[in-house]
Symmetry: C2
Subunit: 412 residues, 2 copies
């Protein structure tokens, strides 16, 4: 099956025999990527600590950059004048930019939210800035990513959850700030995001080479999700995303939303679950039919001496690693593990504040997720889920304590 879009082609190559998972290939003006895909996050136009060639060698075929950060510094006109994001940051492959919505609601000091957009103060220098749907698209047009995202209203992390009595867990990101606002805030966010989507579509000047994805909001309220889904997916867009997750709803909340929403999303377009996540989150989502993921976990944890392994996470500052000759993960082929770097040496780098610790551990963690996705794509094609379970037990664990975030959310 082939769907030709103006800026994006999505070929679904194979479906899973035992779930809604599918493998596919997305083709953009800057090359193709296999789905389900994991996108490392390069917030400020760099995957922290890694040269683009290494990011690619680790198995990454597409990366994400953050509109919010780049609009504040150095500004999208400068990047456009230098030939766009790909050329400027020396990443020749596909790039997805988010719209800035999530960061405005999580990082900035918001002065006003209205139907028009958001007025906020920059987290860098306090400058007063307005971001509207059309402005968010204009900036993304200037940045030049292959996939761009609609500007949405991202409700605070706890909105809606309190009233439903869900237990809020500490997750990947502290996300948009907690709030005592009611479920009505979720409804408002849905309505506003749907209204803003029309303006995004109208403002988009590069639909010939940039694919605009719509975003479905709705928190953990499935009725709201259904309403938003219908509205957003009524647009003829090259892809759709589930937003408003990874903001405190926990694995069970995420599972509920994704299993409810993903199967109802258009079949022929790529489905993107924003900001997710841990292995078990990705596994559940893939089996529900999600095609694309992004997450700061590999690099953020990597900078903080936390390494992912096939049997769980390890914190390298722990004294027990001081003379441990083993690699981070004996099953891994990354530059750290394949290069013969021991946990002993990596611990020394972190204890000494040396850059090479974050560099090697970030590289390892990205490779960890790319290997996981490789095995998932193999499992979809060959219905080989027992193999995934054998190799990635943590993705099937039901009771994994979340590590609390160690760095502020502006540090992917």
């Amino acid at each position: 099956m082939m769907v030709v879009m103006s800026a994006l082609m999505f070929d679904i190559l194979e479906g899973c025999k035992s779930s809604a998972a599918r493998i596919g290939r997305v083709t953009t003006p800057h090359g193709a990527f296999d789905t389900p895909a994991f996108m490392p996050v390069g917030t400020q136009a760099t995957i922290k600590g890694l040269m683009p060639g290494m990011v690619s060698d680790l198995g990454s075929q597409i990366i994400l950059a953050n509109t919010y950060h780049l609009m504040l510094r150095p500004g999208s006109p400068l990047i456009e004048s230098r030939g766009g994001l790909h050329k400027w940051m020396r990443w020749p492959g596909p790039i997805l930019t988010d719209s800035g919505g999530y960061q405005v609601f999580s990082l900035a000091h918001i002065n006003t939210i209205s139907e028009t957009g958001v007025i906020f103060s920059s987290h860098i220098d306090g400058a007063r800035i307005e971001l509207t749907p059309s402005r968010a698209i204009q900036i993304q047009n200037e940045l030049g990513g292959d996939i761009i995202m609609a500007f949405d209203d991202c409700p605070p992390a706890m909105a809606g959850l309190r009233e439903q009595g869900n237990q809020v867990q500490s997750r990947v990101s502290s996300g948009p700030r907690a709030s005592t606002e009611p479920v009505a805030r979720i409804q408002q966010a849905c309505q506003r995001s749907v209204c803003w989507l029309d303006r995004c579509v109208a403002a988009h000047k590069r639909s010939h080479d940039q694919a605009l994805f719509g975003i479905i909001q709705g928190g953990v309220d499935l009725d709201q999700r259904d309403w938003c889904l219908r509205q957003v997916c009524s647009h003829d867009l090259p892809g759709f995303a589930i937003g408003g997750v990874s903001v405190g709803e926990g694995h069970e909340g995420l599972k509920k939303v994704v299993q409810h929403v993903a199967p109802k999303m258009p079949q022929a377009q790529p489905r993107y679950l924003m900001g997710v996540g841990y292995e078990r989150d990705i596994l559940v989502a893939v089996r529900a039919g999600i095609d694309m993921f992004d997450c700061v976990l590999p690099t953020r944890n990597g900078r903080n001496a936390c390494a992912f392994t096939s049997t769980g996470r390890i914190k390298l500052r722990n004294a027990r690693f001081s003379d441990d000759p083993a690699p981070l993960d004996p099953t891994c082929d990354c530059p750290a593990c394949g290069g013969g770097y021991s946990r002993s040496y990596l611990r020394h780098l972190f204890m000494s504040g040396e850059m090479l610790g974050p560099i090697l551990t970030s590289a390892h963690n990205i490779r960890h997720f790319q290997r996981f996705l490789l095995d998932i794509r193999y499992a979809i094609a060959h219905n080989a889920w027992p193999l995934v379970q054998q190799r990635w037990p943590t993705a099937f664990a039901t009771d994994i304590p979340e590590l609390s975030p160690e760095v502020p959310p502006d540090s992917p």
Copy 2:
């Protein structure tokens, strides 16, 4: 001409027609390196921000690691138990370790200096530690470097200079702490270093695979230098070094010392000028017959947004680079310049606090010095000094203002 030593072989391959410069090849148990050689500094068993493969790709054939830092953290027994420095840090080529003397006198809080050695407090945790000649050699035996250095008494930066009325300039490193002590301190340091050398030789347990170099002290006092030279070079050692430079004596002071001392050093052994330096310092020293150099400049400056170019240094935080599409140096083939990274992008990385800025600029700066040494070796073989002058004008400039150090001396 070939001199076979127990742990080190030095072949002088060609002499310069117009100076005392020579090109040679030093062979160690972990491979060979061409001389004149530039050694990047990996203080804490890592060239800051760079994987060993890249350091090697930049043209580095030998690196330096600091005994003082590694004895404090993680300790030499741990490194020995993990198979030694080469295996632990994944640098398969030659390594030189210093003795710790310079750092004890520049970084630590010294409690006592006596004929026995030095008692000091660690700059990391204040722990009270004794370092003696035999202990310094024992630690270096445990670390396992191919070339190890005698433990010497490093007089404070200003000692001796004041009385001679020399103008003290701010140089590469703030070096051992300033002092009001007289020229007698230099004499004492010379006598002590000579006395300690005997103990170093006696303590050395791995002369079969580690080459111990003696160090000539003496500040800018040429009589002291002569005396120390005679004493140190009376030992049958595989190599000799000039120490106590780059501590505030300035280019003219350095030139005076090196031009006086180098020609009197043994011809058949490699001559190492410790902690030097800028291009013009290296050029003068090579032409006086020096074979080996180490310096923190490429990485320390690289981390601080200062890039070396063939026409001078540039500070990347300067606003004029914000939209500059040029590479750091159009004549350079490093991963930053050859990889198409613009000054505009590099400036953005530094302004945003991104690791990739220091990484790329450090790589560039190391390549800058390795390319300079490549051209110098070519010039020696072909008496092609006009070529060096044409390509590296800063090495011939007589009036270059020194950039003040931007980071403390424990941050190479």
